[in-house]
Symmetry: C3
Subunit: 267 residues, 3 copies
């Protein structure tokens, strides 16, 4: 592992210029934050979940973000339709396996999605990804619990097995794909003290994946930008409430100098 | 077109005194913002979408706001029931054709609503309203795209055809009804950089329509108040996150002097 | 009635140490606020409503919060399944009868829940609780209307009849259970000027109930903490928008000294 510099700003610039449409089928808790973070980045979020329209909406989009945080059986059916349409068009599909390990429904539906459609990026915290990898962890609701196994190996294995990019967020984020590997060490503890950072990170990754074909690189770049903004926001806020608002301000104004100076990436 | 002054503050005062109940069947992304902006204005928002109760809830209300941003087939059925109840009571029904043009479902359901119930105010951005007018535009998700046709004519034609008030929001807002016409030139570019301003504008219009029978006048007055608050908020914020919070602060404190001084209306 | 001091901080400390999982089936308007207030307190919120998983999710939790604010028939079925599972595990179930009195569906479903599962804490504003007590009040949407009857007696009667704890929030909050009784006089008028304070109060009560078996005491302690934070937030904000963000900041940082000094409780 060596420190490297990645061109995260170049991708951010691309987003700001191209304004990619990012279609979401996400959870009802953080849906507003997910939409807003894409907008603050410069993208164009669209949320649509009716089975009758998701295929068509995905065709307008440059990336598709799925998040099972408040899943129902019908909602996952809509996800499948949207994902098949996205697969057909060839746009990246990101799946946040939010809460995997907490209930059988979440496990079963996560595997169903992974088996029936092409998922390009799987994203979760350490316990969720461990569960998706076949480990018998049990999560505690939607918050990560400690997982003993070396998560770097878990990520690499899962990426190989599923032929996709795997992102494990946490104090240090792991991004693995076949042949590529990054660790992102940016971020601030306040991120774990509000609801929505995990979901927003997924939407950020989806937005970066909309403008860059190297999905591991896109994911790492997205996390770098999001977490640098979080570091800046934490410094200028008095708690989780003001932190969240400042996060949008900082991501909106993020510039090349700040990104180049603050990024902490290893590969 | 000449500059005019409208009594927007008088209507705001009426809202603050009467505290009208504004019933919403709106989208899941911005539902919280919609409720909060009505509350900040002084109204009493209520969100209810179960087919079993919407007719009764509409009967308590002074206006009904419909927004198809995250529509499903069932949800639109509930909208119809609520709207028929509102029609029966004689309260204004506002329809935000959010995302019309993006999918066939949105087009079809927008037309279904317009055909089967009485819609008093149709509201959308330029591409959405163009689509509702029968133009073959295709929107880009939920964000407006450039529409060549003279939007003022589109608004007037649609108002005539549907015998209702038409509101097209954008850099300059167009409000048209049979025999009435306004352009509102207030607002700030930051409004387009957060999610929810379009939906909130619809809720604001619904709240003003709850206290004023001249619906074009109510819509123009609502937009004036909303957008003046946005101008003030933009001046005192450091980005889209803080902008949104300040928007609620300013709308809550909006006074006659500020409205009279800052309003930019033509007719 | 005499002024007393309660050990609210000790319970807050317990929450911060134990990080209890609080399972919600709540309304779509304020779901994000509910999740965030639990998180800011130190708890671990989880939102899950699929009938296939709610029983299992409730088993992971230390408390269950139900809120009928945007109920549907199916959603209430999921509530029943979750509540039965919570009853079986022996964790407290809190029911916010949001909007009871506004429609027959809300009344009917509130009574159905109260009759078919064990509800440990019923919470509402004065008109909602009056309705649940069998009074023929009609609420105005979801905002409280004046109820003539002595609400203290209503609360005590309902607590006796339903063998549970009853919380009536308002300018002064009433907490009653068989043999216990508190009045909490903290809070600020700005709380009524944003959407979500009622729902958040319910989530706060659920979080305190997750760590304390004396549910009336837990409810009073939760309200004390929430409303002291609101008083602090009101002092440092310029309107409802900034108030809401500051509320999260203050609840996150709430300390023993502030709670002990500011609390206004009678028993």
């Amino acid at each position: 592992m060596v420190k490297i510099k990645i061109g995260a700003y170049d991708l951010l610039e691309k987003i700001r210029n191209k304004r990619p449409v990012v279609h979401h089928l996400t959870n009802w808790v953080t849906i507003y934050d997910c939409a807003n973070i894409v907008k603050a980045l410069g993208g164009s979020p669209v949320m649509a979940h009716a089975q009758e329209e998701v295929a068509q909406m995905a065709k307008i989009a440059a990336a598709l973000v799925l998040n099972i945080g408040t899943l129902t059986v019908d909602f996952v059916e809509a996800m499948k339709i949207a994902a098949l349409s996205a697969n057909e068009k060839g746009i990246p599909v990101v799946l946040d396996v939010c809460g995997a390990g907490a209930t059988q429904l979440r496990d079963q539906k996560s595997f169903e999605l992974l088996d029936k459609v092409r998922i390009d990026i799987i994203k979760g915290n350490s316990s969720e990804i461990a569960r998706i990898s076949g480990e018998l962890v049990r999560t505690r609701g939607v918050d990560a619990i400690k997982v003993d196994k070396n998560m770097i190996e878990v990520a690499k294995e899962l990426a190989r097995k599923r032929k996709c990019t795997v992102v494990i967020t946490g104090k240090e984020d792991i991004v693995a794909s076949e042949g590529k590997f990054y660790i992102v060490k940016n971020g601030d503890p306040l991120m774990a003290r509000i609801v929505g950072t995990g979901c927003m990170a997924t939407s950020v990754i989806g937005t970066f994946a909309a403008v860059e074909r190297d999905l591991a690189y896109a994911a790492a770049a997205g996390l770098v930008c999001f977490e640098i903004a979080a570091e800046c926001a934490a410094k200028s806020s008095s708690g989780p409430g003001t932190f969240k608002e400042k996060l949008f301000d900082y991501i909106f104004h993020l510039d090349k100098k700040t990104i180049d100076k603050m990024q902490k990436v290893e590969a």
